[in-house]
Amino acid sequence: MECKKSKFKKLLLSKIDRKLTLLFIIVAIIAPVLGISYFYTIAILPKSITPAEAEALRTIALMMILLIAINAGVIGYLVSKSITRPIKQLYNATKEMEQGNYDVRININTKDEFQELGEAFNKAILHLGKMREEREEIDRAKSEFLSITSHELRSPITPMKAQLQMLEQGYFGKLKKEQIESLAIVIRNADRLDRIISDFLEISRIETARLKFDFRKINLAETIQDTVKFMQGFAKEKQIQLNVKIGRLPTIEADPDRISQVIRNLINNAIKFSEPKSKIEINAEKQDNQILLSVRDHGCGLSPADQIRVFEPFYQVEGHLRRKHGGFGLGLAICRGIVECQKGKIWVESKPGEGCKFNFTVPLEPVRKIEPIKVLFSPKQLIDKKIKEEFKTMLGPLGIGEFNELKNKNALNMQDLIEYVDTLMNKYILDEEHGLFFKNRIRKIFGEEKDTCLENPVKKGGVTRN
């Protein structure tokens, strides 16, 4: 009862409702009044007055009707405008907000609910703006902290290593064999510590878009050759051969140090995973609008489970290899950061027992606007989980295999997934209804749902398979 009373009150007190109600009442009253008056003046009245008077009356009646019609039209227009204009203002402001502009404000002065809505909007967007500022502050503080900490952590390593090496090399007197070996262990780990901290610094730069690139026109083939030459020393230790095959490459604008960094990392991994006296192939070729580089080894390969996770920070391959190589798992995450910063892709193709082929792409034109890439804690993993679930639902148990394949190719962004479903539909593996539903579900995961009304066809009875 209480609820109904206040609702009724709100109905009465709503200013917009009052405006509209008034409008309708006026129309509902004026129209018949006009009609009746006209009928009266035209049809009935003339019988009781002179024709001249009747004519005058008729003219006056006509003029009055015209006047009233014009007034009604004008008033109607103004009232309706007083409703549609605020709506348009709200729409425009919301569109701006969608684009990320949080500085837009609404100024509605109609002294009704629209004005209240406008004020509420302004408050909300002010809050959004503040939240974003706060988030940016936190990001800045986080990266400052990370970078200062990393520099502070690195400083002691220099004098430590210097003194240890002096000891080891007999600067302070001859040492026993065990003493030298002991020192070797300490020095090795000091180096390792230094590398981990440097990697952390790189990751912090990647995450906060502070990765520095120095783009210039380069001869990519030369860069690759120089890098391979640099790695020859390490490869020789295991008697591994580095073979380079470079196709016709155009002169591109890129950062050679960064490309070299990625290649060095991949070759380093390849050497770790290869048996002595084996080969590693480094290829580069031009594709339509990018350059594809790859490093192939003939080691033991990666299991499908490892293939998916190998780019995750700190992920270490399980098993006997762990003993043979050290490593701390940030190299590939850093490579991913560098490659994806330039809107490229990096992925691995592998079969257990047949080695690995790591591929990455470099654009022909550099991407100058560096955006932060999340490599440490990515919402990507949550999204990937959801996508995997969707594949399981839509395609049954084989869906997981399909999902894993796409994940290996790093093709789990919305665009690639939609294309994939299209291929399924073209091959009649999925009918149109299932296909559209699938695509919509994918869009929903990325927050771009188009049609919420699609019924779930899977419930009806599974997928059509030829």
Partner: protein, 133 residues
Amino acid sequence: MSETVEQKPKKSSEKTKKTILVVDDEPDIRESVKMILQMNGYRVLTAVDGDDALAKAQEEKPDLILLDIMMPGTPVSEIINQIKDIKIAFMSVVRISDARKKGLCTQENIVDFFQKPFNVSDLVSRVELILTE
């Protein structure tokens, strides 16, 4: 595995000792580098920052300056501007590519770049190379 080969420090006596000025704001690094170079037969002076380095360089005219990049006080770019006739080698945590981007490596008297943490035998051999050219 780092080298287990013992490398005995050189002892020079007859030939004129070259002078090296080591500039670093961290005392442990200053001392360590000084020790290494002294035990390899060089005369070593130290400075704590850029201004100190300028003063000592003018006074003593060393044969080589080993210069850290990140130090308090006058920025290194300004310091090297005022030392054009003595060989300078950077010794820094800053990567050489970043140093190049800052325009620090364009001067002619910049002869080498040691990345910290450095290798002792590497430092010694490269310093020797610089001073025998």
